[in-house]
Symmetry: D2
Subunit: 345 residues, 4 copies
């Protein structure tokens, strides 16, 4: 059994980690921390987990946690993460960090979009935790930087096509639509029910922090710098991201050929489902699961490739992907504890 | 492995059976029927099940099905059920019927609320499939009548209290609020998105067919005829029923004592969760799970007991309960394949 | 033109007052206050009002406001209201207070449910602003206490029946379902989108502060003290309250007769719509309007009368009713500026 | 008073016309037809209109209608429209057709995307009813083709920019998100509540019939043929369309300059609101109103202009725009009966 501690467990990614790991046959969550709820039973804070276990939230005590657990999930906000991750790192724990602090390999890029980086040593050692691309590096990593939710949905369909040169590295546009749980569980006017319900807006137009993260991975796939356009939208639903991506084709190609390229690239990746021609993803079809569904269509009139991808932002976009990384790091079957069926309707 | 056929598998209870049984370690779904989709792959009709299996929908051929499977789930509308169930019965299959056709033990009551009953012999042999009450009879039954969704939510909190005499058998009122999936997947103006969204209504006021079903079980618990008031409401959400029940207390009693009576009654029932005093159920806390959560409060000012119960109508209110019955009938652990954690948020 | 100031205009009742008064041919909003947004244009805080006017939010300066306006709407929280209303009162303004501070005629009752009352003199002079009951007193009042949203929905269907003696004053149960806007616009975990969406719960079970307000008016109608049961529920929708009320009949009576009694009672009240027999209210049918729709059904089996009433909590449950009171106080047509058609779908 | 008949009044655009025209000081709806509901009171079919009028639905009798009314709104499906519009045309009525049958000026384009056109004579005389562009022609038209909902949201922000040459006519991408009411009120599996709620999908990817309509107007503005990419998405909300448009800039230009060009172009158009720099539209801010809100941002990194536009699809995208056309045709103030404030929240 893997002894696991969750640091920062009272947000939506925290409860999702608890939900997934409870059903994982090799996982044993020995501690979960929350400054706010320290001393309170997990099942009191999250009544959906009533009867789940006797676990109480504790304060984050690194010394205690690194003795009790070999595996650490850090689910705290960026900045907080880079102050605590090095301590677990030095204590020899293996860490999956769900924050943004170790995702950008280039320190200057990080500091442009976030703030000064206080753990540059660990930054150099962190592996970007997108298993479909970096499976091998993840296996031996001590620190994995779990990808952002938007980037997961945008990168997966594009990498095989940039890699093969089918699409241009210029003019890529990703129009993402996200459910509200991606904004987290902290209090904010913008995520009150009545501010979101029956509304729809674009936000952080062409200035969202996930853009450099997407560009980093697209550049790696293209073998040259990629600048792209990324616009997120907030949708009145709880879970899910649907990203519609527009790319310029470099050659005449059929929709089916595009599908085959993507499918071949992910033939050993159990969580990528390339849908049949004419079928497009729907957030309903991935809810509660670790799948990333992908659909494609060539628009010959304008020489544009349209890609549609869908994930559950709390699973493949956060906690499910983190457990997928755990499995790979621990030498287990990548799907262990993650082979659930989407909850539909 | 249990060889299982699902008859009428293209509705919401059908897809939910497929979802649950896929994760069930002893279940093997060998056939699923749908007149409408015969010949089509299950994963084409329900893209959430993409990659699930090679199963195709077939036409309902009783001879073939009763040879291929020992266990039959009938998920067809009432009236259709009573025409097909006797055939499986005579072929020696064990049947869990999700329709209303075998729930009312009294044929005349059935015929008052529905239509002429064409399978009275099987009616006499059917067991009402509420495991928390009839576990023992279910174990040896050949035909189990899976309860209605509203009745499940209303009966469970009341039975221990009527049984113990704490509440009067007169003046019971159940005010139920249901998500839209309870209305099924057939086309109807009333379940179009724009007719339901941001709306809320009472319907079939004091004339819903689930009322005699509730009364049957309350009468059995009270040991005398119970007439009660049942009003269903339609809520703009997909899954879940929350029932608020009002009963008259026969004695002065504390909230805690009421809780203890219910808790004691269900001490061997893994899916009933009696919440701590001051905590009340929320549909969010049971979604996707087989739990029935119950909260209680004594209102001394008016001598009224208020009970609140919540279930996922597609799980504990239909397909999950059906699998729970399967487990009991097959001599397996009652929770097998059903120990999921609610999907929250 | 009526010169009007809105004190506390940045919540949901504030924006609703602005919306309604803008279309009111005799209203001129000369000032709107908000400590939080003082100095900011109204249209910046509420972009739906873009192009509406040049109005800025100001700090609440009683001296200035009572010189600039003759009519004051106070839309601040209870406790804050009773500290500011007396100042406007003494300055000779006529006031419609949307808080709870002047609704309970009995000071001790107020102090039991809220806190010490610091403006008992004004309390004695305040008129309960339910126009359908107190139209005449409202006309000459200097201070009107605008009713709570739940009470409006619960009191209107019951008063004619208690008044006529058709129902017992004992055993009345009101099961209310409310949209989330009733909880206001302040930050709270419980009204975050993901905490509410696809969920449903009862809250403040038998201990909500609107209960004594309902009882006060039911007692007045019955001519004797009424103790009743009131349970509010939170529904994943923005606007609307639907209340299902259960009462014990004192005599054998038809549904139609009940309807006639209610209809006759409200024959001069333009905003009460008694629906045809067999038709029941739906929140969708009153959204954005000042209507209170009422449906009724006698359940002869249990001698129970079921009443269903629906309002838009921000209109008839708050700001629309406040404008209705304004019209009456100012000697205008009660419906002026309120004859909108519900927005459906 | 304008005597008006609505042909095909039982869908969502029908009820919205009834709602808007009821508040219009110069409109008198003398007849409303529906084959399905002929003989039934309007207020029975649409209980939100309870108390509205004594109007009954009638069968569509052209002779009777063209005698009773001078103004005809046809709100029937395409194909049905072109069979009935010529009859009203020949009878001398002035017609606002809400279908697609008279929107495409080029008959061959129509026949490519729809079917054979059976009223080519009227097609030549129809004016495309986007008042902000064709106000003058609309004023004297006998037949106005009311634009589609998606086209309205996509065309308005682009026309001034194509006209001025700031953006390229190549590579335009419109990513539209629509509420469900745009799909109409007829029965279809795809618009059932549980099929839509908490889901999100792209549909008719690069093959929606509104694409040629958008291209027609963009080509007119650009003065040369425009081929563009248009992808609609279905969002779990009732009303509203938000369109995010991506265009290639032909010159270096600031966001503010772009805003000024749009604002200047629409300076006499009361329903176009160009939002301040940094503010972007939200469907919540236009709900129930005839506004089209527009926001813009130049992304210098990729030389891309991002436009965001929002409308209420049933108002500015259908019935409100139809009434705006009526006002212009009748020589009235363009805003008459349409100066409502958006219902927010």
């Amino acid at each position: 059994m893997l002894r696991i501690a969750i640091v920062g467990g009272s947000g939506y990614t925290g409860i999702e980690l608890l939900r997934i790991l409870k059903l994982h046959p090799q996982a044993n969550v020995v501690a979960v921390t929350s400054r706010k709820y320290a001393g309170h039973p997990v099942e009191e804070v999250f009544p959906s987990l009533h009867g789940y276990s006797d676990l109480l939230f504790t304060k984050p005590d690194v010394t205690y946690l690194s003795k009790s657990a070999e595996w650490i999930f850090t689910a705290v906000p960026h900045k907080a993460a880079m102050s605590i991750v090095p301590q677990f790192f030095d204590a020899g724990c293996r860490i999956i960090d769900l924050s943004a602090d170790f995702r950008l390999r280039d320190r200057r890029t990080y500091e442009t979009w976030y703030q000064a980086h206080t753990a540059p040593e660990q930054l150099d050692k962190a592996i970007y935790g997108l298993p479909e691309i970096y499976r091998k590096d993840i296996a031996s990593a001590q620190l994995v930087a779990n990808p952002g939710c938007y980037p997961t949905s945008a990168i997966l369909p594009l990498v095989p096509l940039l890699h093969s040169g089918i699409i241009s590295s210029q003019g890529i546009i990703a129009d993402s639509k996200s459910g509200v749980s991606g904004a987290g569980r902290s209090l904010s006017m913008g995520t009150l029910f009545c501010e979101v319900n029956e509304g729809l807006k674009a936000y952080k137009v062409a200035e969202h922090r996930h853009m450099p993260e997407i560009e980093q991975e697209l550049s790696a796939a293209a073998g040259k710098p990629v600048a792209m356009t990324f616009i997120p939208h907030l949708i009145p639903m709880t879970r899910g991201i649907l990203t519609t991506t527009y790319a310029r084709l470099t050659e005449e190609i059929s929709t089916d050929k595009v599908r085959v390229v993507i499918k071949e690239f992910y033939k050993d990746s159990p969580f990528v489902r390339v849908l049949p021609e004419g079928t497009f993803p729907n957030i309903s079809y991935v809810r509660g699961s670790n799948f990333c569904d992908i659909g494609a269509k060539v628009d010959g009139r304008t020489n544009t490739l349209i890609l549609v991808s869908a994930i559950d932002n709390l699973v493949k976009g956060a906690s499910g992907q983190a457990v997928q990384n755990l499995n790979i790091m621990a030498g287990l079957n990548e799907s262990l504890g993650l082979d659930t069926i989407p909850l539909c309707p």
